[in-house]
Amino acid sequence: MDTDTARIDELISREYAHGFVTDIEADSVPPGLSEDVIRLISAKKNEPPFMLEWRLDAYRHWLTMREPDWSSIGHPPIDYQDIVYYSAPKAKKEGPKSLDEVDPELLRVYEKLGVPLKEREALAGVAVDAVFDSVSVGTTFKTRLAELGIIFCSFSEAVQEHPELVRQYLGSVVPRGDNFFAALNSAVFTDGSFCYIPKGVRCPMELSTYFRINAKDSGQFERTLIIADEGAYVSYLEGCTAPMRDENQLHAAVVELVALECAHIKYSTVQNWYPGDRDGKGGIYNFVTKRGDCRGAHSHIAWTQVETGSAITWKYPSCILRGDHSVGTFHSVALTNHRQQADTGTKMIHIGRDTKSTIVSKGISAGRGSNAYRGLVKVLKTAEGARNYTQCDSLLVGDRCAAHTFPYIEVRNPTAKVEHEASTSRIGEEQLFYCRQRGLSAEDAVSMIVSGFCKEVFKELPMEFAVEAQKLLGVSLEGSVG
């Protein structure tokens, strides 16, 4: 048994492939947070006054708040005065107007990461917005999308070009003072992606944002806002990496989705921030607020996430099922290895009649990783005929890891049907031996068993992402058996 555990341990160690640092001259503000810093950020971005007011309100609110302590994760205190709140690659002019003006060094970074930004090389059918530290460095396929009336650009650009849309929807799903990290983000967010799909338009390609933290000691606070107007459809992908550094870096993002009547938003994440080393040194603290509002009847928001990176993952992509007959789905794979900690899950708030939600959560713990599913299903009085189905499965690899499930269910309407199923299993010596007796290496066996375990979630991902996710899991587990 002991040899088996030792082998699994070996399998789990493998190096982070995206840990390189790029030497790019940056325009950064000194570490620390104050109203002045916020004014500076807002000025650097040439924002209209309403944005500055919004930020300052958020900041003042944040000052009255405390870091949440209800989750199962632990970390040394974060010194918010020691973080750089704005870091941007120094542009030669005002900022890149098109990809041709983007610093070639930056384009090479994204190539190295497998995300070529040059349109002719871009993945067919995927439009990419690349966010490097605090700012968006380029968005592909913009003109083609514009022909359909689709707006897909950096958040900064949206503030300049479409202030009315930003003003109408910003903070309408995740209010400024929603929680500690959302308030912080609202005060200091520097960029992110913005997307608007007009009435009745089906976005013909996957939209995607690729986030990259590069600068030292900087936090990344991006904000994504996606609005699908009546009958619109969009599938959106998000990918993330960061260099290997010994210090922990804070990432506190906010994502807001708005689905109007009969609109459908599919939001997929493959999160591979640097997880820290074997002993838990370094890595990204990922405190993220993601929420979708099914504002219109028959709207549908689907979250799919594969979380393999970060030292800490704290996120609960949620759906507010306001519209009658609206549908919320959440499919998640979270893997924790070494000393990674994840406290993740979802909230499904049923407000409208005949609203439906599905939750499928797969947690994999290896090494000394700790993995918690935390989910809330809330059915309000108004939600006649609401349905929820929740399935939480945990898979343990080795015997020093932990898995927890915290389901919260609140039902205020007697016609609601809420189902919850949970299971915990271990990659057993028996399963491993069976596969090895058939000639598979222990490593291949573990990765085969893990992908089988995650299959229900992977099939929700767009094709290219599913392949990437599968590879990522393999990478994250490799070395644990040998």
Partner: protein
Amino acid sequence: MQPILEIRGLEASVDDKPILRGIDLTVNPGEIHAIMGPNGSGKSTLAQVLAGRETFTVTAGHVRYLGADLLARAPEERARDGVFLAFQYPVEIAGVSNVYLLKAALNAARRHRGEPELDAMDFLALVRSKLKSMEMPDDLLYRSVNEGFSGGEKKRNEILQMALLEPRLAILDEADSGLDIDALQVVARGINALRAPERAMIVVTHYQRLLDYVVPDYVHVLSQGRIVRSGGKELAFELEARGYGWIDDAVPAAAGAR
């Protein structure tokens, strides 16, 4: 002729509890050896030790497979070299299709032998032909490994894997347990179809009934971790008629009659 398997003085224990207490056995190409014995006599342990299960510790003796030391090698190396164990309790693997595991297994062996891997088309053609011979429906390929399989389907799936991997040494651990007579006959036909001059089989069974269909060349009776009696196929009938109590009372035969 080089024996396929030579076991000499093999002792093995689990958690310091001795299970095998000195096994001697020689298996030549083309032979089928039946290992019989009461529950707890060490039959399954022997099968698993030969396949390399690490829950058991070999404390003495050695085993040569095709002339080379078997015990020093990892389970997957033994498998790729042609040692196959049909499990008494095949494990379930959720979300992994049967066909995926079969292909991975076959290609692991082919790589090891320096042969090109089979592509999906060639593999499917091959596995379909084997499937037919095991009277198994196609959909069994696409279901998760052993998940929701009936007892009979699990056992047939083991024989299917054996047919596909074409081992030099097949060890069948209670291939008949839990089968009704129809399923038993299918499994037996599958096993018999794999009898070949270059292949040897060790058939571990508690009851004689499998041996009505798969006729062994030799029968060995295991008791308390030792082979206490060896003989031809008639020995199985004798056991069936007189039970294992008769063996326990008998004076242990010279260990390893062959």
